[in-house]
Symmetry: C2
Subunit: 196 residues, 2 copies
């Protein structure tokens, strides 16, 4: 399995390609960081990233694209650009009929270092060791992209299925809550007030 | 000037095209809402939207694309998808060398109704009146996309220049803050401790 890991970002976007299967040491195929000029307009920066995603997908022919799942909670100032860069990566993957896997930063850290709260240096050191590299890929976005790809190789398709099942369960629960809320609103008032 | 207004969203994305110039009543060209299936994967939903953006840009040949500026502060659960939908709209505009204008919801409301805190019904009613329509475009995302386009016509290129200058001033201020923070860190400790 060949995985293209993307550590999304407008200013620096990490790209890492790894070959591997569950139970064997993954190998480095390629790693780089694509930068876009902070003084350019966002639309132009996204276009620059799209071109790079296309190039990597065509050049390295990954079986799956693993993208870091972006949360709204942290880094409010940069999170919009990060989400948009991740969106463009997913779009390019979908265009090439490639499956997209999203992994949270703590899933990646846990898979690589054994701790969901490892720092960037620990992740970089473990990536270097796992891939038997002479030095840690720099900047951190490059190492993070490789960590994502390794994480995906190790979690494998089983991990995918679990994530998908979890997502589906969450969606189902939300649907049930909505249905229940609707049922409450449409119940006769006397029943409703008895908390039925 | 022909403006394509986009009210970005994964579940419902509003598209509105308006012809107009400053000082004259704008006219409706087209309006619609593109929906994507909430049970599909995000990558597939973004791809569906990209196809729709492409179709509209090719079919209506706008001079500019006006997209609602998405903030991280509100609707944390849906804001990632909204930001990504907006990102794909910007990407398609950039690919066609079309300028992208971002307007905040309060800028749009203020331009259309005179109040930055108008509700959706007021915006819909004013869009209906301004474009001399027989009924308010439904759902609200359709009316909001037209409101964005009208807002852009009325603010015109002067508004663009002001927004750009404001953005640049904010970037410059951020750069100065960083330079100052760096200077503080590299100052001799005795100077630094005196708060210089």
């Amino acid at each position: 399995m060949r995985v293209l890991g993307i550590d999304p970002g407008l200013t620096r976007c990490g790209f890492g390609v790894v070959d591997g299967t569950v139970g064997r040491s993954p190998g480095l195929v390629a790693v780089d960081v694509v930068r876009t000029d902070a003084s350019s307009e966002v639309a132009q920066r996204l276009l620059r990233l799209e071109v790079a995603f296309e190039e990597w997908v065509v050049k390295y022919r990954p079986d799956v694209v693993a993208v870091e799942r972006v949360f709204a909670q942290h880094n409010v100032q940069t999170v919009m650009g990060t989400a948009q860069a991740a969106g463009v990566a997913m779009l390019v993957a979908a265009r090439h009929q490639l499956p997209v896997a999203l992994h949270t930063p703590s899933e990646v850290k846990a898979a690589i270092t054994g701790s969901g709260r490892a720092d960037k240096a620990q992740v970089g050191a473990m990536v270097t060791r796992i891939l038997r590299l002479d030095e840690t890929p720099k900047p951190a976005d490059a190492a993070d992209a490789l960590a994502l790809a390794i994480c995906h190789v190790w979690r494998g398709s089983a991990g995918d299925k679990i994530s998908r099942a979890t997502d589906q369960a969450a969606q189902l629960a939300a649907r049930q809550r909505r249905a229940y809320a609707l049922a409450r609103r449409t119940l006769p008032t006397d029943l409703n007030s008895r908390g039925v």
